[in-house]
C-alpha cells in the first residue's frame, strides 16, 4: 500500500460514546473515543478486560445489543457515517467492506451448519454468484488460509475443527468479500501459543496481500508489539494513550501503559521481576470527576482526583490522557 493513498482514513471514529442502560445504572462502556485507521494499516487496540475495546468494535459495526446503545459520536467509514446508515446499508457494509473475527472461533461458527454452508452463505450474501461458484471460491479461501484438504473439510461441522483450524475458517469467511477493514477481536486469545503465532502471521500475510486495514483488539501487549503499526491503549472506556507502536513501547507516557508494559514478562531478561498492576478496573457506571486511573496510579497528585484529563498530543502522532503531560511541549 502506498503512503499517498493513506492520507484518507478508511475508518474515522470521533467522540464515540456507547452506554449500557441497565437497571443498576448506566454503564459507560465507551466514553468518548476517537481514532482513525488508514488503509493497509494494522492498528492494535489494547487494554484490560472491560475497558471498552470490544464494545468499540461492536459500535463500529452497529452490533451493540440492548440495553446498550451508541449515544454519541460519528463513525465515518470511507467517508460515510455508519451511524446514519439504514439497516440495509449497514448490512451491505458488514461482511463486505468491514469484516470481523472473534475471540472464540468455535463459538463464532454456528454449530448446526456445515462450515461450507456458512462460507457459501457469507459469499452469496454479498456477491451474486451461483452456489457452485461460491463453493469453488470457498475452496480457494480455505486453501488460502492454510487448511489442508479443503474439499473434504467443507461439509464438516464446526465441532470437528480444532480451535486454530476454526479460526482459519472464520478468517476465510471474513476475507470472502475482500473487505477494506478487518476487525479482529482477540483473535488468538482462545488459542495455543504456537497457533497464535500462526494466526498472527496469517493476518499479517493477508494484510500484505489484500491491502486491508486491520483493527487488532487484544489485551496481549506482545502481540501488538509484534504486528501492529500503531497502538491505541484504552482504559475505562477512554483512550489512555495512542501512537506508533515503537514509540509507545519504547517511551510509554501514561502510567497505565507503563504498568501494562511492566507486567509483561520479557523473555530476554528472565530475572526481571514482574510488576503487576494493583487494584481493579474503574466503576464506569458513575461519571468520574477526576481521572479514572487515579485510584490505581502510582504517580497521582491532587489534580488527578479533581479533573478528568484530556487526550493531548505529546509528540507528533503520540497522544496521552494524563495530567502529567499538561500540553504539547
Amino acid at each position: 500500500m502506498s503512503v499517498a493513498a493513506a492520507t484518507e482514513p478508511v475508518l474515522a471514529v470521533r467522540d464515540l460514546h456507547t452506554h449500557f442502560f441497565t437497571k443498576t445504572g448506566t454503564v459507560r462502556a465507551v466514553n468518548g473515543v476517537s481514532f482513525s485507521i488508514y488503509p493497509g494499516e494494522i492498528v492494535g487496540l489494547v487494554g484490560e478486560s472491560g475497558c471498552g475495546k470490544s464494545v468499540t468494535a461492536m459500535s463500529i459495526l452497529g452490533l451493540v445489543d440492548a440495553p446498550g446503545r451508541v449515544v454519541n459520536g460519528t463513525i465515518a467509514f470511507d467517508g460515510r457515517d455508519m451511524r446514519k446508515m439504514s439497516g440495509g446499508q449497514l448490512r451491505r457494509v458488514r461482511g463486505h467492506e468491514i469484516a470481523m473475527i472473534f475471540q472464540n472461533p468455535i463459538g463464532a461458527l454456528n454449530p448446526v451448519f456445515s462450515v461450507g454452508r456458512q462460507l457459501v452463505e457469507a459469499i452469496r450474501t454479498h456477491q451474486r454468484v451461483s452456489r457452485r461458484e461460491a463453493y469453488r471460491q470457498a475452496v480457494g479461501l480455505l486453501e488460502r488460509v492454510g487448511i489442508p484438504d479443503p474439499e473434504q473439510r467443507l461439509p464438516q461441522y464446526p465441532h470437528q475443527f480444532s480451535g486454530g483450524m476454526a479460526q482459519r475458517v472464520v478468517i476465510a469467511m471474513a476475507l470472502a468479500n475482500r473487505p477494506k477493514l478487518l476487525i479482529a477481536d482477540e483473535p488468538t486469545t482462545a488459542l495455543d501459543v504456537t497457533i497464535q503465532a500462526q494466526i498472527i502471521d496469517l493476518l499479517a500475510e493477508l494484510n500484505q496481500e489484500f491491502g486491508m486495514a486491520v483493527l487488532h483488539i487484544t489485551h496481549n501487549m506482545a502481540l501488538v508489539a509484534e504486528s501492529c503499526a500503531r497502538t491505541i491503549v484504552m482504559y475505562g472506556g477512554k483512550i489512555a494513550e495512542s501512537g506508533q507502536t515503537d514509540v509507545v513501547f519504547d517511551d510509554p507516557k501514561h502510567p497505565y501503559t507503563q504498568a501494562l508494559l511492566g507486567s509483561v514478562p520479557d523473555l530476554d531478561q528472565p530475572e526481571q521481576i514482574i510488576d503487576p498492576l494493583e487494584g481493579f478496573p474503574p466503576d464506569i457506571t458513575r461519571e468520574w470527576t477526576g481521572c479514572e486511573f487515579e485510584p490505581r496510579c502510582s504517580q497521582r497528585f491532587e489534580q488527578c482526583s479533581v479533573e478528568n484529563p484530556l487526550l493531548r498530543e505529546v509528540a507528533a502522532g503520540h497522544a496521552v490522557r494524563c495530567h502529567l503531560y499538561p500540553a504539547a511541549s
Partner: protein
Amino acid sequence: MLSFSLIPIILTIIIAFAAPLLPISDPNRANLSVRYIPPLSEAFILGTDRQGNEVVHPERNPDLFPSSVVERYIPPVPKHYLLGGDSLGRDMLSRLIWGSRISLLIGIFANVAVVMISVFFGLLAGYLGGRVDGVIMRLVDVGLAFPGLLLALLILTVLGPSVINMAIAVILSSVPLNIRFFRGQVLTVRNAKYVEAARLLGYNNLRIMFREVLPNVMPLVITVTALNATSFFIFTAGFSLIGMGLKPPDPDWGTIMSDGLRALYEAPAVILGPTILISVLAVCFNVLGDEVQKILSPRESQL
C-alpha cells in the same frame, strides 16, 4: 414484581389456613332456593323450609323459587351472596375458601414432594452416571411411556378416589418427566470447573452433589416448581371433573369447576370463580419463578 406475585399466593395460603375462623357459612350446606344465584346477589330471606333452609323472596329470584317449600312467613331478612350459589345453592365464597385448602395441598405440597424426589434422583442419575444412571433412566423411560394423565387415571382407579391417592397419582405421574429434566441440568453442571475443583479437594460425592451441584441447578428447580404448580391445579381439576377427585360434598377447586362445567351456560359464575383463582395464582407462580430465577442467576439480573 416479586412482592406483586407473592402477595396473592401468601394471601391465599393465609385465607386457606384461616378458613375455620372466618365468618363464612358452611360450604356444604345446600339451599335449593338459591340454586345458581348470581354473584353479588342479595337474597331476601322469607323464612325457613321444612329442612331448615332459608327460603328467598320469590320476586327476587322467581326462576329459582320452588313453590312448595315455604311453610311460614317471617319478615324478609337480606342475605348477601358475594360469589353466588352453586348447583345446590351452596355459598360459592365459602366453598372457594374451603376448597383452596385441598387445592393448595396438591398444588404446593405434592409439588414440593415431586420436586424433592425428582431432584434427588436427577442428582443421583446425572452426577453418579454409570449403572445408577442406567437403572434410574430406564425406569424413567418406562414411566414416560405412559402419558402423565393416563398413568394418574390408572393409579387413581386402582387406589380409589381420595386426597392422598390423588396426591400419589399426581406425584407418580409427574416424577419421571421431572427426573429427566433435572438429570439433564445436572449433566450440564457436572463437568464444570468448580465441581472438578471440589472433587480434587477430596469432597465426597454426597457433599458435591448437594453443596456444589444442587445450588447451581436451584434456579431451574424453582422455575419448574412454579410451572408445576400451575399444571397441578389444572390436573386435579381434571380428575374432579371425571368424578375421581375427592369425596363429595367437600369442595376443592376442581370439584367446583366440574360442578360449573355442567352449568357453563346457566351459571357461568360457578366455573369462573375457581378458573380466575387458578389463573391468577398460576400467573403469580410463573412470575415468582421468573423473578427468583433472575435473582439466583446473575446473568439474567444484569438486564
